[in-house]
Structure formats: structure tokens, C-alpha cells
């Protein structure tokens, strides 16, 4: 594997969900957008926030708070969403706010602590120790392949 790919793989967009810093691999991110019109999907899993029109394509939106077991956000400003593409499908991840792009070195990476909430364990690839805070790396495959995860 070449050096440049390595560097890219370690680039993350940081987002805040319920006060926690998360990192989403930048290669997976399509865009970040403000949620305006979303359609709720009746009977779907509670962590499916709905479906929306993202430039002519339909994106399924996942409420990351519900997924992580964090209480819902207070009513107010339209939430932000990160658009990611996974398996030819478009998804939106509801987040509280978006931060910066970080290039992180593998030195500060370590696996999930064993005492992490199982819900978090499942969708976290591991933790980066940053200065003064910790960054949880979101595992897109685990986050989006709900069916597979449940079957396993």
C-alpha cells in the first residue's frame, strides 16, 4: 500500500453527537448538509430518522443519537447531516455539528476499551487519543449494515 493512500485513510471529518467527538473516514463522506425536508418512514426501526431527497437521490437518514442510545436533541434548529455513500446507497447521518478535517497518526490509535457500551462497541472501530479529548472512529459498515449486524 502506498504512502498517500495511508494518509488518506487516516483523514477524518470530525462531528459532534451528544457531546462526543466522532470521526468519519473522509473517503466515505459525500457532503454535509442541513436537513430541511425529511419524510418519516412509518414502522421502520427507531434509529431510522427518515428518507430525504439529496440532489435527486433518496438518502436514508440515520439518527445517530438513537443509534448510540443518546437522548434526542432538543427541538430547534434544523439538524445537520453527513451524506455518506455505502454499497451504492446514499445515507444521511444526523449529527449535532461538524468540526474539522483531521489527519491522525496511527500512534494515537487504540482499540475500543472493553467497558464501552455494547451499542458503541458495535459501531466504533477504535479510539484516537487527541489532545484533551477522545475521538471515536465510526465504522460505516457496522453502522449501515444493520440487517447483517442483527443477523450476526
Amino acid at each position: 500500500m502506498s504512502k498517500s493512500v495511508d494518509a488518506n485513510a487516516d483523514d477524518f471529518i470530525t462531528v459532534q453527537i451528544g457531546g462526543q467527538l466522532f470521526g468519519i473516514p473522509i473517503l466515505e463522506v459525500h457532503d454535509v448538509f442541513r436537513l430541511e425536508r425529511m419524510t418519516r418512514v412509518p414502522l421502520s426501526r427507531p434509529d431510522i430518522a427518515g428518507v430525504l431527497n439529496l440532489r435527486g437521490r433518496i438518502a436514508t437518514t440515520i439518527d445517530c443519537r438513537a443509534r448510540l442510545g443518546i437522548p434526542p436533541r432538543a427541538e430547534g434548529a434544523a439538524p445537520l447531516a453527513v451524506g455518506v455513500e455505502h454499497g451504492n446507497e446514499l445515507y444521511g447521518l444526523l449529527i449535532d455539528s461538524v468540526g474539522e478535517v483531521l489527519s491522525l497518526s496511527a500512534d494515537s490509535f487504540e482499540p475500543n476499551p472493553v467497558n464501552l457500551d455494547p451499542r458503541w462497541q458495535k459501531i466504533s472501530k477504535g479510539i484516537y487519543r487527541l489532545e484533551g479529548k477522545l475521538l471515536v472512529v465510526l465504522d460505516m459498515t457496522a453502522l449501515l449494515d444493520i440487517a447483517k449486524r442483527d443477523a450476526a
Binding site: 412509518p42 414502522l43 421502520s44 428518507v51 436514508t60 440487517a147
Partner: protein, 865 residues
Amino acid sequence: MDDLMTEFLTETAESLTVVDAELVKLERDPNNADVLSKIFRLVHTIKGTCGFIGLPRLESVAHASENMLGKFRDGVLQVTPEAVTLIFQSLDRIKEILGGIERTEAEPQGDDSDLIARLTKAAAGNLSEEPASEPHASADEETPQDLPLVEHLAAQEASPLAPPVQANAQPRANDPQGVESSVASQSIRVNVDVIENLMVMVSELVLTRNQLLEMVRHKDDSEFKVPLQRLSNVTGELQEGVVKTRMQPIGNAWAKLPRIVRDLANELGKKIDLQMHGAETELDRQVLELIKDPLTHMIRNSADHGLETTAERKAVGKPETGIISLRAFHEGGHIIIEIADDGRGLPTDKIKAKALANGIVTQADLALMSEAQIHRFVFHAGLSTATKVTNVSGRGVGMDVVRSNIELIGGSVDLKSKQGAGSTFTIKIPLTLAIVSALIVGVQGMRFAIPQICVVELVRVAAGTEAQIERINQTPVLRLRNRLLPLVHLSEVLKVQGPPDAAVPSEAFIVVAQAAGRSFGMIVDSVFDTGEIVVKPVSPLIKDVAMFSGNTILGDGSVIMILDPIGVSSAVSSETTARSGSEDWRAGRVTAEKPRAQAQLIFRAGSPEPKSVPLALITRLEMVDAPRIEQSNGRFVLQYRGALLPLVVFDDGGAIKTEGRQAVLVFTDEDRNVGLAVDEIIDIVEEELNVELSAAKGGVLGSAVIRGKVTEIVDVSYYVSEVFRSWFAPAKSESSGGVSERRRVLVVNDSIFFSALIVPLISAAGYEVTEAPNADAALKLKEEGVSFDLILSDIERPGVGGNVMAEMVRNDPSWASTPVIGLVQKIDGATRGSRNPFDALVEKYDRDGLMATIRDRIESKERAA
């Protein structure tokens, strides 16, 4: 030239071009397995197709080439330029023959034995002897170590083989290149992906157009109006055009069927005539692909299960040759495909038994179902009625897969079947999957699309309109043209109810829909409009929600979910069939028994469904301490009033409690008591019953809806007789034997239930009872000179009819004086007022009334005598 041949020529010409190129590659890189297998595959395909459409000359050449290529592939033969040249020659020969076919539509005459012999020889030769067999190979291309062998070969084979090759040289030079032209160039083969992409783009364009139209609609004098109209038209035409490129005649999916049927006919020893109509009907290739397998399966099913064997057909007077007919036609934006056979029809009883055995349905549900509904169980998973698994079908996977495959593409499948006359399966599928017309409805402020394919009509209900939603035990129904239509609140099905205190909307709409062979109505708050929507598949994350078949983007840019009518329909059935049944059930039972009111004891035993028995049959209800129940000889008994009370439990999982108190229904027969252990006594109700009789399951007389719940009517006689067989049978004959001078009563009745309960009652009162199952049997007794003191006859049931029999009794001198009591379900104004030949009428389950009447009539007869 027919389509098949045109296509074959086009396809083969293309394949050959590829093979040409690949062969050159192979020559340069003899060890490239990928290239080799590609060539092999292509030649194999050509050979296969030739065989299929009957081109023997081509086939044999291709076959020989394939053999040789096979040797390459297996490593037996080394790829040498000579060998490749030989293959090239055979390819040229193939092209030459193809050219002939294109000119004359038939294989040109010619002898390929020389070429084939060389190919075979080359293929047969092992490496040491003959790596390359090409006599014309130029020596300068040879690698040194090959040289001696080639020389040897050339010396051996040059003379017989050279002339034909030379003879062919002339046409070869002209033809192969020239021939590819005419037919092959009239049509082009486009990668499916390209067309799929085009379709997606057009779909987006349609969407954008809709958005623009939506914007301009609200502005009366927009300068965009005219150009937009033009854009709209062009878009429409473009959409049509692209859809057309995806269209293929359905005959393509049928092409293999005649062969399959022929083979099946041989295998099964049947004579089958497959008739196909409408093969030219076009549909989307995506749909076509998806429909192929289900179709094949259904044809196999018809051949295997549907049609009888030749002998069976002869026996029932049908022509020996069974007919399977396949018909396709367009109908309102859909393709209808019918697969009909003139075979034996579906075996209703077997399906019933199987559905019960597999727990798909309860006896009670079954009793309420029409034959058509029962037939539809063949679409249910795990129900194959073939008792023996044949090579062809009957493995228990089948029609359910067919159904789900068809429903997957938004289609539906239904069947009609008549015992002895055959079955017809009807598949209805959309022309294309990408764009459907849909009705947009509103529920609790959310919008949903309902595919028009399943919408039958719209009904508006509001204060003052004729149509009103009525309720039966909270279940909404609608009177629609003298039928009751089961309704569902879409908001309930989708669980999107508003706040509970919200005002009930003043008007609502009912979308009358048909799906999965069932009519039902969906109650929605509002109906917006209809339109073409571009169906997009739902994300895997929400795929498991059965209520939606897809989603779409509307003209205003918002995303809405597309309802899956089949999903909704299953919600309807699970919520309402038990209570209200479906339409055809109701239509089918117009003449069913009249309602009758009688006190019923409702209880629960074994299964969770309520059961009931007529209260009149029960002597006593007892609650006993469970520990008092003892076992004797493997049976449960209870010391009861100085005697042993045998206890029976229900077949379907009833049990005797080991602690606490056990409820026991005590039935009296003659001087003996029988206790029926039940789990819980629920209620006593006096209600009109619509008992649907069914005899398929012991211990259950049928089922009826009592207080909104399907309740099994227990056949007490079943349990009582079970006990008597084992406990009392010897005693019974003894007790009825000895007494003389007993009054003789004839009971004309065909119900075991009734007999088992009433007959003991009468005989317990000191009468000698003779039973006749029907009026004819009774009249036969009369002719035999048997006389009775009284006749008890069920009016509604047996043989020539109770009324007629009573008349005949009246008119016969020997029996004229015998009083005849008519048993009716219920005495009401009509029965009381009507003229009848009976001395008295008694309600069937009024046992005190019955006993009193019998006593009274016999006494008055004797007084008169």
C-alpha cells in the same frame, strides 16, 4: 427471417469477432487461461445455439472446434500457432456457413468432414505425437523442436486434406468479412447497463420536468409555459422511447418452454400439448428476466400436478392429450399472463388437510373460507400437495416462491380452479418497473403513494354521503354495492396515529384496493392526485418494512413512500379475517344456515381460542379441587356423587390441572355422567349463531363468531362417545336390551352430534330409540312394517326433507296415527305461522321442551287409540 434466426446471426457474428480477436491474443500468450476460457465459452455458446435452433452443419464444426479448445484448456494440447490456425479455419468455415444462412435462410450444402476430421485428429493427438495438426502451417513459424513432427504429419496428411481446404479458400476470402454486414448491422447490441443508465437518466428528467411543471402551474402567464410544454412532450417521448428499448417480446421468456414440456411429457408419460398465444406481447426486459423462472416453474407444475396421466384422462372421458395453454396480453398498463391446463383441478380437500397439518390455518378459519380462498393456500410457503415428490416438482418449494417472485416485481398472481376441469393461473405484472402511475394519498399529514394497479375505486365518506363507515365490534366495514368490504385505517396499519384527542376528521376517503386476491378498503384522510412516479427501491435499512415497496421523489422534491398493497392486505387479513372474512367468502355463503339463538357456554380449553357448547347440553358446571382428581387405568376420574365421573380433556392440548381448582362441564347420558375438563369458563351468551359446519377435525362441530371472536363449537358427542366406547360400551347394550314394552321412538337425523346427545336423553326417559340417518331410511323402515309410537324428525336436514317425509307418513295408513315432531333450529314467527305437516315443532336444543312434547304426544296418541 424470423426473430430467432436474426438474433442468432447477430449474436454469432459478434461472438466470432470476439473469438477472432481473442485467438490472436492467445496465440501471442498461449498460457493465458482467461483468454482461453473466454474463447471456449464463446465457441461453446455458438455450438449450443446451433444445436438449439437446428443447424447441424454449423453445430458439428463448432463442436469439433470446441473439442480442440477443450484440450487446450485442459492442458492436454499445447497452444501452437498451427493449432490456432486450424481453429481460425474452422471459424472461417462457420462464418461461411452463416453467410449462407443469411442469404438463403437455410444451412448451405457442403461437406465439413475434412475440417472436422482434422480438428478431431488434432484434438485426439497427445502432445508427444501431435501438438499441431495444421498441414498448411508455414514452416518458418515453427519452433525448432516442433518441426520434425509437423513434417511427419504433413507428409502423412497433406494429400487427402489439402484439396478441400483449397476449394474453400475462394469463398472464405470473400465471405466472412462481407457477410457480417446486412442482418448483423441492422440491429446493434447495447450493453444492458447503458440502457439501464439511460432509464435512470430519463427517470430523473421526468422528475425534473414534473418539478418545473409544478412551479409553473401556479403562474398563469409565465413565459416558460410554452417551452416547458415542449420540454414536457419531448420528455414524454424520450421516456417512451427508452422504455421501448428495454422492451422485449415475452416469447423470449417462452422459447425454452416447448422443449421443457416435451421432455416432461416423456418423463411423466403424459401427452401434453403446449399452446402459446401472444408471444409477441412486449414487456420490460427486467420484468422479463424476473418472470422467466416463475413461468417455467408454473408450466412444470401444470404438467406434473395439473394434468392427469393419459390413463386417468381416458377414464374420465377427456381427450388423451392434455392442454397447457399460455396466453399473454396487455391490459391497461399491465401484462396478463395466463397459464391454464385442462387437468384435474386443485384438490381442495388435500389442500385443506395440508394447510391444517402445517398449521397455516385453523379449523375455524378454514370453515369460513371459500374454495377459492382455500386454493390460494398453494401460494403459501411449505404447502405442496403432491404426496410423492417427483423429479419435476413437489418438493414443497414452489408456488410460494413463484408468488413472492411475482410480487417482488409489483405483480400479482391468482388462480381459478375447478375440480376435474383444470386450473388457470393468472399473473398480472406491470409493463415496466421503473415508472408506475400512482395515487397520492394523505394520512395524518403524511403522504403515501399507492400503485394504481391495485386501486379499484375511491369512495368519499362524509356526513351526509351515502357511503358510511360502519363498525362491527370496532372493525370498520363499508357497504359497497351490497357487499361488506373490510376496511383498515391506514394510520393504524402504519402506526401514525395523531394525538388521541385530535378531532375525528369530518370526511375521509376509502381507497378500494385489490391485492393478493382480496378486496379491501384503506381509509385515508385525503387524496391528492395521480401521477407517474419513478419507483426507487428502498434502502436495505428499511427493506424489512413490508408495507412499502419502494419510495419516490415527487414533483415538489419531497420523498414519499410507496405503499405495498400486498403488505397492507396481509395486515387487513390478520386484523380482520377472523372477524369479518373476505368478500368472496361472504358472497359464497348467502344460502348458509339461518341464524339461531341459543345459550352458549363459552370456555377455554387447550388452545387459546374460545370454545363453546350449547348450554342446554350441560347438566352441571363443577369446580373441583384438582388434587381430588385421580387416575384409574390411565384415565382421569373424579369421585362424584357416589360414582366415578370419567374426565376427558380436549384433543388440542387440553390438560388436567394438578393444583388449584379444575373446571369441569358435566354431561349426562342415560344414568352416566361424563366430565369435560376445561381451563376456564368465560361466559354464557345468548347469541345468534352462524355455525359453519365442518367435519374435518374430530371434536369440533364447526365454528361461529361469538362476541366478535371466532369460537369453536365443540362436538360434545365426540368426547362423550370416546368415553363411552372405552368405558361403557358393554354396559350400554345390556341396559337397552332387557326392558320390554318400551315406547318406540324413531329419530330421523343425520347429525352425530345431535344423536349422541339427544338419543341418550330420550332413551334415558324410557323410550326405545331407533335412528334413521335420513327420511329415505325412515320410509324404508315403514315399508318393512316397523311401527313406532312417535317420530322425531329434523326439518331442515335429511334426505327428501322432513316436510315431505311427514306428509308421506300422514298419507300412509300404517303410520298415519303416529305423531311426528319436527325439530327446528329456532321457532320464530315464520316457522310458527307456516303450514306444516307436523304434530308439533320443537326447538332442537330445548331438551326439556322436547322431552315434554314427546311424553305429551305419546300419551295423547294412546288416549286416542
